[in-house]
């Protein structure tokens, strides 16, 4: 059901059945290491190329999620997935292995919640009974496509972020379970004129602020209605800017606000301003956050996945970085 201008209220009930997360070497040494299902200690994941490694992660996590649910693969009605690569490479190539209807989505690092919002609305609207969404990002494939060769000795500024190597997926369904996907707020594209691809936190903060404000307005809520509000990858640069923008719009987030990209690594791991990439919001949400909710330490969580929709080509043509953020609210329900 439409709610306000930007939001969808899933009134018929959409629930999370299973989820799984796989990460790379650096992430598996981070503070959330014990929450991940699987990890690899080599960026190649025993594959020949990084592109294959990225695909392998996505495939593994989708298969693990379906296996955990106990459903057979042919009872999944739709697979929605996306990643950072041109032509959604990882998602498309993984999907060719399944006999499941597939939608590929791209929202840069907001892909996780974009996919989940679409899937949840399909389940809520009775189009499908069970949907799987998944996303992934890989440090080396992202560097290769968006920046410089991984071994190139250029100096990165402290505002830059490090792409999270990981994949995460989730299975949602109609039948009742412990955690409900309660609503979604779809962002609009915001461009505040930032043009530095090594400072995406600053570029994305206004998009996150816009979506969170819309969410609060549409659902008539404030930060008090949530135990935690989580952005995807605003980094240590974008985080205080978002705080400030929210205070300015009259919705102080206070100490309820955290950033996924800043939770994945220790400060000593040399990731500059924090982690970024499609996987940032997904690996934290589909492991740590859902576990905390199941164990009743969190009841209401708002996940705001932020995406910098930049094209390396167009940036060279002196364009700025359009950004977007999508929010999903999760609620623990008594069983």
């Amino acid at each position: 059901m439409k709610k306000g201008k930007y939001s969808w209220d899933f009134t018929n009930g959409v629930y999370i059945n299973s989820h799984s997360v796989i990460v790379g070497p650096k992430e598996s040494e981070g503070p959330l290491a014990s929450y991940y299902d699987m990890s690899f200690d080599d960026l190649h994941f025993e594959e020949k190329t990084w592109e294959q490694a990225e695909r392998k992660m996505l495939k593994k996590t989708i298969e693990e999620t379906i296996a955990k649910s106990g459903y057979r693969q042919d009872s999944i009605d739709i697979l929605i997935s996306g990643d950072l690569m041109n032509q959604n490479t990882a998602a498309n190539y993984v999907a060719r292995d399944y006999d499941i209807p597939f939608l590929g989505v791209f929202g840069a690092c907001s892909t996780s919640m974009e996919a989940l919002a679409i899937a949840a609305s399909l389940v809520d609207g009775h189009q499908v009974n069970r949907a799987v969404t998944g996303t992934c990002s890989h440090y080396a494939t992202a560097e290769k496509q968006f920046r410089y060769p991984t071994e190139y000795g250029g100096q990165k500024p402290d505002t830059s972020t490090s792409t999270v190597t990981g994949a995460a997926s989730i299975l949602i369904q109609k039948s009742k379970d412990a955690i409900q996907v309660e609503g979604a707020t779809i962002g609009k594209v915001i461009d505040f004129g930032m043009n530095d691809p090594f400072d995406m936190g600053s570029a994305m903060a206004p998009a996150a602020a816009e979506t969170i404000t819309s969410h609060f307005k549409d659902f008539n809520r404030t930060a008090d209605d949530y135990d935690l509000i989580l952005t995807g990858d605003l980094s240590s640069v974008g985080t205080p800017i978002l705080d400030k923008l929210m205070v300015q719009s009259g919705y102080d987030l206070g100490d309820k606000y955290k950033d996924c990209g800043s939770m994945i690594y220790y400060a000593s791991q040399n990731v500059f301003a924090g982690g970024s990439g499609c996987a940032a919001s997904a690996v934290v949400t589909y492991s740590y956050i859902l576990k905390e909710m199941k164990e009743k330490r969190l009841n209401n969580v708002l996940i705001v996945a932020t995406g910098a929709l930049l094209s390396p080509t167009v940036i060279q043509q002196k364009e700025t970085i359009p950004c977007i953020a999508h929010a999903i609210s999760l609620k623990r329900v008594e069983q």
Binding site: K48, T49, W50, E51, K144, Y148, P149, T150, E151, Y152, G153, G154, Q155, K156, P157, D158, T159, F192, G193, M194, D199, S202, A205, P206, V237, P240, I241, K244, L245, Q248, A273
Partner: protein
């Protein structure tokens, strides 16, 4: 009040400033060290092989390129680059790193369309502007010489 119009300016306090002086010192020290190694190599070639200073130039540069390429392959040079900035980018070793790293990166697309066509992705601009600058300076020098 942060608005769209003053955004770039008003978020300045939130963006960490690059430590310019420290970066300059690091670049000076590491860049200098690379040059010292180069000088050492040159003396080595002159003393051991009896080259003149002019003759020792080429083997010196070649050796530095080889060392940089090997360090790139072992995943060391990018870390050095993050630390030293221009100090490791400006010497010939930085040039070698830009070629080797691009070649390694695109090995997965094959020898011809991967390695060969992508090798000069970063170094190409240096070659183009180096050649153009040399040509312009050469022409200027020729003209000036006509009048002297």
């Amino acid at each position: 009040m942060i608005t769209k119009d003053n955004y770039k300016k008003s978020i300045k306090p939130y963006q960490p400033k690059p430590p310019l002086i420290l970066n300059c010192v690091k670049a000076f020290v590491i860049g200098g060290l690379i040059c010292v190694i180069g000088q050492g190599l040159m003396i080595f070639y002159m003393e051991v092989f009896g080259f003149t200073q002019k003759q020792a130039g080429n083997p010196t540069v070649t050796t530095l390129i080889l060392i940089a390429a090997i360090l790139t392959g072992f995943g060391v040079y990018d870390k050095l680059g993050q630390f030293a900035g221009a100090g490791s980018a400006v010497p010939v070793t930085g040039f070698a790193n830009s070629i080797t790293s691009a070649a390694m990166e695109h090995r997965s697309e094959g020898i011809v369309l991967g390695v060969a066509s992508n090798m000069f992705k970063l170094a190409g601009s240096v070659i183009v502007f180096g050649t153009v600058a040399a040509y312009v300076v050469g022409v200027v020098r020729y003209i000036v010489q006509q009048f002297l």
